[in-house]
């Protein structure tokens, strides 16, 4: 399973059920594309896998 390719369409369908969203089929391609984009953002964030700080709480009060 670890080598399985991400399937954002299947994920979107399952997530819509889980979240109680009534998704029009016409919106589905756009949702899938945005999920791919969000995955790309996440991959940018984790980058080369270097350790991230443990506690994110400090971000809220500059």
């Amino acid at each position: 399973m670890a080598d399985a390719k991400p399937d954002p369409a299947a994920f979107a369908d399952a997530a819509a059920v889980q979240l109680g969203l009534d998704v029009d089929q016409a919106w589905r391609p756009g949702i899938v594309q945005h999920l791919k984009n969000f995955r790309g953002l996440y991959e940018s964030v984790v980058g080369d896998g270097a350790a991230l700080p443990d506690d994110p709480a400090a971000v809220y009060r500059p």
Partner: protein
């Protein structure tokens, strides 16, 4: 130097009796009536209550009472601020039938308590989720300097109303750049104060940990007086800082002596039109800034910023997306829906990076008081334009507009956009970024640019 007709000049005339609040309001309403059809900055003009407020102010002046530092100054507020008696629709038909707000948002209340007169509610991207104010429900706000171009967003109506001389100041909100981007595209000054310095109570949120109240003006001293009038702790806003900040207005006249000013390199010196970078160079030369500083890993910061803000907004609107998704703006509905599905692990990774990046950026700017960057990579694009070519790269317009502003909302530092003009007909924004709770430093630098004639916000004549 201040622009003609700025808010403080208008207030001085009302306070001295040289003119009346009613007369000042008449002029603003006449200007709105004449120009609004071309600009489409307003969702509603609040003429009747404005006339009542103006009469009370004139009565106060006649009775020898202090009418307030902004006596008779007409202002506008983005459609996400609560205004007593009106539904807060946030640019969406989903909220158009909401019950009327029972009280004004904190920022609106503080300005009206200072004698300012609310003239109207301004157009915005739906729920502040955009950078162009091309709203499918309420129409596109047009740039007063070129009606074929966008005003920027999401606070585009407020920026356009100030640029067109309909009001001298207007409230907006800034999550990833929604004050600074339209300020740059419309050629006005726009301030996003330090996160927590100005209460957001009564302002509909987009992304809680990024949202700031901000505003537009045609002079730096107006930016500063609005900060002084709106800042301070407010228990109604959980992010409101408890620290007491000194008045900012006196700082505007102090010059830049002692300020350590640098130009941002790396990410901020690439991916922009040459003219946007030329505007930065012009401002840097005027401020005597020769040093260049590079912030680390800015693209990762932007990625984390976009992930978190999308997820926070989607969480906020989840119930409406369950029941009324079909009424959302078609331009952003699919993204909202997808954002509800972002895995929690991705968000927490982004939040963990956020903390680390804040520490890294703070360290990189430890000996810098003001950092200069472009506000946007290009001047106002055309209405409906989806992509733009910068060098060899084709960029999506909407995403690219925030590439220089989002990193600073991410960590809550103060930032403003100053309007700089080159040889062409459109303005460019130069972004000045400061340290947390030292908003005064960027106001001082902006005032120096204004005094040198490098930054100016002339009234557009659409």
């Amino acid at each position: 130097m201040t622009s003609d007709g700025d808010a403080l000049a208008l207030a001085a005339a009302v306070r001295s009796g040289a003119t009346t609040a009613a007369g000042t309001l008449d002029s603003a309403l006449a200007r709105i009536a004449a120009i609004e059809p071309q600009v489409q900055a307003f969702n509603a003009v609040t003429e009747a209550p404005a006339r009542v407020a103006a009469r009370h102010l004139d009565a106060a002046v006649a009775a020898g009472r202090d009418p307030g530092p902004l006596a008779g100054v007409p202002f506008a507020a983005k459609a996400l601020f609560d205004v007593a008696g009106l539904p807060t629709h946030g640019g969406s038909v989903v909220r158009a039938g909401a019950p009327p707000a029972e009280r004004d948002a904190a920022a609106v209340a503080r300005l009206t308590a200072a004698g300012a007169v609310l003239a109207g509610i301004t157009n915005m991207d739906e729920f502040a989720f955009g950078f162009t104010t091309e709203n499918s429900h309420y129409g596109a706000t047009r740039n007063p300097h070129d009606a074929e171009r966008v005003a920027g967003g999401s606070s585009g109506g407020s920026a356009a109303a100030v640029a067109a001389g309909m009001v001298p100041v207007a409230l907006g909100s800034d999550t990833n750049g929604s004050v600074r981007v339209p300020a740059a595209l419309c050629g006005v000054f726009g301030l996003k104060p330090t996160y927590g310095r100005v209460s957001r109570a009564g302002a509909a949120p987009l992304a809680w940990s990024f949202d700031h109240v901000g505003w537009f003006a045609r002079s730096v001293r107006d930016l500063a007086i609005l900060l002084d009038l709106t800042q301070g702790h407010d228990p109604r806003d959980p992010a409101s800082a408890e620290r007491v900040s000194p008045p900012a207005a006196p700082a505007v006249t102090r010059g830049t002596q002692g300020l350590r000013i640098a130009v941002a390199g790396g990410h901020f010196a690439a991916g922009a039109e040459p003219a946007a970078l030329a505007a930065v160079a012009k401002a840097a030369a005027a401020l005597g800034a020769t040093r260049q500083v590079e912030l680390p890993e800015v693209p990762r910061a932007i990625a984390a910023s976009l992930l978190i803000s999308a997820a926070e907004g989607a969480s906020l609107h989840l119930d409406e997306l369950r029941t009324r998704a079909g009424e959302f703006d078609p331009q952003t509905r699919d993204r909202w829906l997808a954002a509800t599905m972002i895995p929690a692990a991705w968000i927490h990774a982004a939040q963990r990076f956020r903390r680390g990046w804040r520490e890294a950026a703070t360290a990189a700017l430890a000996d810098v008081d003001v950092l200069i960057t472009p506000t946007t990579p290009f001047a106002a694009p055309r209405i409906g334009q989806m992509t733009i070519r910068i060098g060899a790269a084709e960029m999506p317009v909407r995403g690219a507009l925030g590439r220089f502003t989002a990193p600073f909302s991410f960590i809550g530092v103060p930032a403003l956009s100053a309007p700089v003009w080159l040889d062409g007909p459109l303005p460019y924004g130069v972004q000045l970024v400061g340290k947390p709770f030292d908003d005064e430093a960027i106001l001082r630098a902006a005032a120096a640019l204004e005094a040198a004639g490098v930054a100016r916000a002339p009234v557009a004549a659409p």
